[in-house]
Amino acid sequence: MIKVALRGLLGRKLRSALSAMAIVLGVAMISGTYVLTDTINGSFNSLYKEIYKGTDAYVAARTPLKANQNAQSPSIPESLLAQVRAVKDVRVADGGVTSFPVSIIGKNGKVIANGGAPNLGFSVNPKISVFNSLTLVSGSWPSPNQVVIDQGSAKKGGFKAGDMIGILGAGPEQKMRLSGIVKFGTSNGILGSTLAGFDLETAQKVFDKVGKFDFIQAAAKPGVSPAKLAQELQAALPASVTVKTGQAEAAKQTSDTSASISIIRDFLLAFAAIALFVGIFVIVNSLSITIAQRMREFATLRTLGASRAQVLGSIVGESLIVGVIASVIGLLLGFGLARFLMWVFGRAGLELPANAMVILPRTIWVSLIVGVVVTLIASVRPALRATRVPPIAAVREGATLPPSRFHRFRTVGSLILVALGFLALLDGLFAKGLTTKQILFTIGAGALFIFIGVALVSARFVKPLSRFVSPIGVVAVVALSVLVWPISILIWAIKHAAGNATEFPSVAPDKIMNKLALRNAIRGRERTASTAAALMIGLALVTLVSVFASSLTTSFKGAVDSIFTGDYAVTAANGFTPIPVSAAKAAAKAPGVEAIASVRVGEALVYKKTAQVSAVDGNASQLFKLTWVQGSQQTLDTLGSTGVLVSDSFAKSHHLKLHSPVGIVTPDGRPLSLEVAGIYKPPTGGSPLADVTISAKRFDSAFQNPLNEFTLIKMKGGQTAANTKALGRSLAKFPNAKAQTKQQFVDAYISVINQALTILYVLLAFSLVISFFGIINTLVLTVFERTRELGMLRAIGTTRRQARRMIRHEAVITALIGGALGIVLGMVFGALLVERIKNLSFSAPDRLPYINFVLAGYPLVFFAVAAVIVGIIAAIFPARRAAKLNILEALQYE
């Protein structure tokens, strides 16, 4: 039977290859994701090992907060170093500081940065080489008020040792001499981070950490194990610090990094899963069609004595072969994809520390198993149908596949499936007390049910749907043809001149061909529906993203308009890194400033959970207009050292009233006792404040190295060119801070959101490509199947162009059905998601903006047009096949 299967495959190379495409792409996403994330992980692993290779014990502040990449851990007093050195097993010990952002200013006055990678600063002590993981590439180690920077930044900024260079730490920009250029161990770059190294005292000054260390490293005397040293140190030092072995610290840092990388990995794998899900539709569909076409063959096999099991075996065998081959190709393609992405990262300056690809055995077996299993799952239903072909079909002309036993229940069944899907979706979105995993799982299962259900039930409605979209398709195609008409005419002219007489390009719709296409789409309703369904899934998700984006940006804009009463905002030039507090102080000195207020954000333990705490300073009441439940605008300015402002939802979930006590623990473990001074309602569209807000004064005394998220300014005369200039001048020493008008501030934020969303679109594009191949595949199979009809049509006077148009219109109808269903589903999903986010409570990990459902029309029109274009392009190849058919052979085709 395997032999028969193999023969069958070879006989249908094109068809098999087209459906295998779905598996190839999905598996490539899986293996590419694994290789990429494993490689990044591996690089960081070896990087941290290298950094801590000489460190036996590592001393740092103890913090009650959960580890967070973005929050700096608190510092420890310098005096601890002497205590460490006093421990008898310590051979050598040294303290250091580190900070970010510490920016290098390029010759153009702008911060040198690579994408969103951090700008790191640290102290260097070349004298104690066991702790120094830097290597000097050129120049010398830094003396006081000198700096060394990494190779990548030096190259980007065009700097060489001896140059004067601007450094921006906790204060205004400082000019320093560049003493040398360094690299980290053997690697050229750490995912685009820029590095600035100083001698200890300079570093402490630049980072505003005078008298403090962030860590102390110690090496043991010979014969003393790191664990023993760590124990001894812990015993000798106060409880406000923890001591770990160097290895443990390296492992902790690695696991911190890999925790965030595994989030990225799971995120990417989710998109691979979507792509494979779409792939299943494509494969089920093409297998069903091929099996229907090969009914005679199966019936003949049955008359020759083949059992049902053997027929089943031959089809499943075929799928197995396709699955294995496609998975292997996908696996290799994934390696290539990972390599390509690393190259892209490298080009964008985000170079990986090491460049060797990490291919774990897990990558190989997961990719292969998933690919093969998905193919097998897809083949089950069509294969079972094939077993129901009765032997008599061998001799009967035009026999059809017997309907499945469950056929009668199909519509009801699929409607139930849709209903269950929505129930799961609603449950996942709105039920209380679910873990993130449960939420994602329930939502995922719900979406799965909905997609499958809609796909099944839509077969029932292909007729009205086709009739509905067909005229839209005609109009769209005419419009598009008119657009490309000049090009068509040019091509025609060139062909004509070359003596290749083709018909003059016309844009008028061909009524009869469109009608035939419509009837064909309705005739093959099952395949039209499932081909459309594949596209529907991708488009639904794309629409969801777009709806989410428009809701987010519009709501944000509304919020800014309603809440910010200032004229200008000062933010980081890149829109998201915090800026030194001193920048606001400098801006305050600009002529014409009437009121200025900044918002700081930090992390603290709030009701035993790590959460964000914000702070306001200055004339906040004149710049933020809040909706008050308790308190008034005045409250903003009078928080003092004990007052705390809470959002109404936070107050509700913790049963807080005016003057209720609120407990917060700072990162270094100090409790702050506060009481509620005001309760406000955050605006839809995003609150500038966290759920808990204190005065900046209190914040600065409780949190180390405070930074501003943004600063709002009210100017005499409002937004004028002169005011803009004055603010710009006052910030000259802060190259990473930018004074923007309210409008620019909104635009900058929106463009950050849009950039993030672009990534989602790119990832969803994989699913769309798979469904695109699905359309091609269905059309190719359809052309095979209708060969005789095409022959007849050509014989009675159909031109080649007409034949092409007929196929094309069928593709456009299919694509538009997928588009219509997808866009509608996407809007529903979007509305639900927005509704859910609107009701986010305090437990949310991030300050997700409170948003309103907003439907932006033009992206949806764009998606519909895109669907038409997908249809047109997918039809090119099958339509050419149809047009090129030899009439005689076609008429004799069985």
Partner: protein
């Protein structure tokens, strides 16, 4: 003897008036070298307007090949064909398509109706494909003539084989083509239905003067023709004027001997 017989059938020069199809010295060779098959060789003939010409011969004698070449669906290796005065062997695909739209109708053995269209939609398909207006009276007339007046809205799957072939005949006729080709139009029907279809074809020729070329294996079918050509090994071996089935059968038997 074959050359003598063919000579009479054709005027060597351009097609005279009253000739729908004019073919000279047709040869069709399939394949190349050792495996080459001479499907048709040295065939010349004229198909007069208003005549029903039947082509008979043993299986593999080249009947279909000849018909396809006459209809412009296939090109002869050598020789020329004119339809309605137009030399067609050098035409491009689109020119041929245009010619077929105007001058050629087809009836196939397997009906070849489009299953998603109604009987009437199938009938008017050639007009629509060619972008021509539907002559309502003519449509009514032929649908009546083929006996489908009250089956117009039915799908092919709801029609019997004979009825389907009636639709096909109406579809070929709707254009009023210069010539209509039928390859074994009764090959897929039982004998009673065949009789009805043949009668219909005969009426078409008689009543509307529809020039028709019909390939058939059936002596009874050939007997309705104004002329029967006998093909053997790719050449016209014999010609009979209108004859009884018995005579046709005798000629066939003689040929295969």
């Amino acid at each position: 003897m074959s050359t003598g017989a063919t000579k009479k059938l054709v005027s060597k020069t351009a097609a005279p008036d009253g000739i729908a199809v004019h073919a000279v010295d047709l040869c069709r060779i399939y394949g190349e070298g050792d495996t080459a098959v001479n499907a048709l060789c040295g065939v010349s003939l004229d198909v007069p307007n208003g005549h029903l010409t039947a082509v008979m011969g043993p299986s593999g004698s080249g009947k279909s090949t000849l018909m396809h070449i006459l209809a412009g669906l296939d090109k002869p290796t050598t020789g020329t064909v004119e339809i309605a005065g137009t030399e067609i062997t050098n035409l491009s695909d689109s020119e041929l398509t245009r010619l077929r739209r105007k001058h050629v109708g087809f009836i196939f053995q397997f009906f070849n109706l489009l299953p998603m269209l109604t009987a009437e939609e199938n009938i008017v398909l050639p007009l629509e494909v060619g972008g021509r207006d539907i002559d309502k009276d003519w449509l009514d007339e032929i649908t009546g003539k083929v006996g489908l007046a009250n089956r117009r809205k039915h799908r092919p799957s709801e029609l019997s084989g004979g009825e389907q072939q009636r639709v096909a005949i109406a579809r070929a006729l709707v254009l009023r083509p210069t010539v209509m080709f039928a390859d074994e139009p009764t090959g897929n029907l039982d004998s009673r239905t065949s009789g009805e279809i043949l009668q219909l074809l005969e009426e078409m020729v008689k009543d509307y003067g529809q020039t028709t070329v019909m390939v058939t294996h059936d002596a009874r079918a050939a007997s309705i023709a104004d002329r029967v050509l006998f093909l053997a090994d790719g050449a016209i071996e014999r010609e009979l004027p209108r004859s009884e089935p018995g005579a046709v059968l005798a000629a066939m038997n003689e040929l295969s001997r």
